[in-house]
């Protein structure tokens, strides 16, 4: 029993170290990377434009639900006028960065892990190595750099659409004066809140994309399966661990910034 726990703990520590080295290597590779700009733009397109519909839809429904729930709760205390404050602070501080990151993990992160896993399985990554191409610089670095820009932008869009969703359910459906809603939004949002939102989004982007890339890149090391199953297992692990790390990192950042 003790031996199993020890072995398991050692493997976690080993994997954490390996992941840290992988991420560090990916950033270091940016220094000597050729034609990096083009690949960053392409990665930005894949992460940004392709994920945009889901970000907008989930953002809208999150705002609608927040508006609805918030209105009925505030109504008990006769404070419906604070609906804008509730919706905006919830979205900017917590729900925006977290939900946008989870959506991006589900779409861009899983696609990245699967793509790299297949490239590993079909020897495309080995082919790059034999050509003398830096596999980190070519495959991982552009995605990481793009994530640092795309995640905050997607989060900003998520929050904006969410605020409109809150306004729709609060004003249009439940009869709250739009001016009251938007003025309370304006009063509630402060620069530190926006900064916290962007810090979280960029951190989640860095952590989740590097984690998904790490699992895809090392799909061949999967001990429980080989071939297509190894790709499937590594993709699942990437999505699950990324989702957990978003929530864990959210708690840690919040505890430092609040």
């Amino acid at each position: 029993m003790l031996r199993t726990v020890g072995r398991y703990s050692l493997s976690i520590v080993h994997e954490l170290g390996d992941f840290a080295l992988f991420t560090g290597q990916s950033f270091r590779s940016a220094l000597g990377a050729r034609r990096l700009g083009r690949r960053v733009v392409r990665a930005g397109f894949e992460q940004g434009v392709r994920c945009l519909p889901v970000i907008l839809i989930v953002g809208m429904f999150t705002g609608l639900v927040l508006g609805l729930q918030g209105y009925y709760v505030l109504n008990r205390f006769g404070s419906e006028g604070l609906l804008g404050t509730l919706v905006s602070l919830s979205l900017i501080r917590e729900l925006g960065p977290v939900l946008a990151a989870l959506m991006l993990v589900g779409q861009a992160g899983s696609a990245l892990a699967a793509e790299l896993g297949i490239q590993r399985n079909t020897e495309q990554i080995a082919a790059l190595e034999t050509m003398g191409v830096s596999t980190h610089a070519y495959l991982v670095t552009p995605r990481l750099l793009a994530a640092l820009v795309v995640y905050p932008i997607q989060t900003a869009l998520f929050v904006t659409v969410g605020l409109w969703g809150g306004s729709l359910s609060g004003s249009l459906l439940l009869g709250l004066e739009p001016g009251v809603y938007w003025s309370s939004v304006e009063r509630a949002i402060s620069a530190p809140d926006v900064r916290e939102c962007f810090i979280k989004a960029a951190t989640f982007g860095l952590l989740t994309i590097s984690l998904c890339a790490y699992h895809g890149f090392n799909a061949h090391r999967c001990s429980s399966a080989t071939g297509a199953r190894a790709v499937s297992a590594s993709t699942t692990r990437a999505v699950v661990q990324s989702s957990i790390i978003v929530l864990a990192a959210d708690y840690i950042i919040t505890s430092f910034l609040v």
């Binding site: 050729r34 034609r35 793509e115 490239q119 079909t122 020897e123 495309q124 080995a126 082919a127 790059l128 190595e129 034999t130 050509m131 003398g132 191409v133 830096s134 070519y138």
Partner: protein, 270 residues
């Protein structure tokens, strides 16, 4: 072993050793590859041929032994020697390892884009030239999945030669192909090897094609190189291992002949 080599060597391998857990794959394999020649390494499936090639390309790290390229040793710690080797060498994978999300032209341009500082116009020109030389210029915008098996093989070769390498390593280029295509692929390798003047090292288990197309052949058995020499020396060799390998290659012909005789008897009976 065959006669001494008189040409200068481009590649020399000495006592290569590699094991995976308890399984010893290479057990002191040595090989000499003269510059400008086509050398085939023969061996049964699982003899360690692909691992030997991957050790040379540094995809797999050998446990012991030395590899010399153009007289200089390739050691794990010597990054500049490795980089120089990679610049002057290309590797053709058994599976072709083409990038399925890139077009034929993008596949060929990739090594130039990522390893040189050439301007875009020159990269495009050289990539198109490589595609034209391999008669693929009409398919430059197609993806690998839209090409036939033979075209994919040629595309992989175009990607390998676009950097103008001195050495091309071929890993089982005819694996899984029918006899006609096997002939065609070996003929293609021999043709372009002479046309472009690179040194070719091919690992294969196709005896007939290797003996016809190669300048030299080597036989890998149980992780050791049991024979090195010209195809004529291989055919004349009385060594047991060489004889066994030749016999195993002939066995299919004998089996087929026996089957045909059986069919003939059956048709007489009826």
């Amino acid at each position: 072993m065959g006669a001494e080599i008189n040409q200068p060597l481009l590649l020399r391998i000495e006592g290569l050793f590699k094991r995976f857990d308890e399984n010893v794959v290479l057990d002191g394999a040595s090989l000499s590859v003269p510059r400008g020649s086509l050398v085939s390494v023969l061996g049964r499936s699982g003899a360690g041929k692909s691992v030997l090639l991957k050790c040379m390309a540094a995809v797999v790290q050998p446990d012991a032994g030395s590899i010399y390229f153009d007289g200089k040793p390739l050691t794990v710690g010597d990054a500049s020697a490795r980089a120089d080797f990679r610049r002057r060498c290309s590797f053709l994978f058994q599976s072709n390892a083409l990038f399925d999300s890139l077009t034929a032209l993008e596949n060929v341009a990739l090594p130039l884009e990522q390893t040189t500082d050439l301007p875009d116009k020159e990269i495009r020109g050289r990539s198109l030239e490589a595609l034209r030389q391999l008669e693929l210029d009409a398919h430059q915008d197609r993806y690998p999945s839209q090409l036939s098996g033979g075209m994919q093989k040629r595309l992989a070769l175009a990607r390998a030669i676009v950097t103008r390498p001195e050495l091309v390593l071929f890993d089982e280029p005819t694996a899984g192909l029918d006899p006609l295509r096997r002939n065609a692929v070996f003929a293609m390798i021999a043709k372009y090897q002479r046309q472009f003047g690179f040194t070719a090292l091919v690992v294969t288990h196709d005896l007939t094609e290797a003996l016809i197309a190669s300048d030299r052949v080597a036989l890998l058995d149980k992780g050791r190189m049991c024979f090195e020499g010209t195809p004529a020396e291989f055919s004349a060799s009385t060594a047991t291992v060489v004889g066994d390998f030749r016999d195993s290659a002939d066995a299919l012909g004998r089996t087929l002949a026996a089957m045909r005789r059986g069919e003939a008897l059956q048709s007489k009976d009826s």
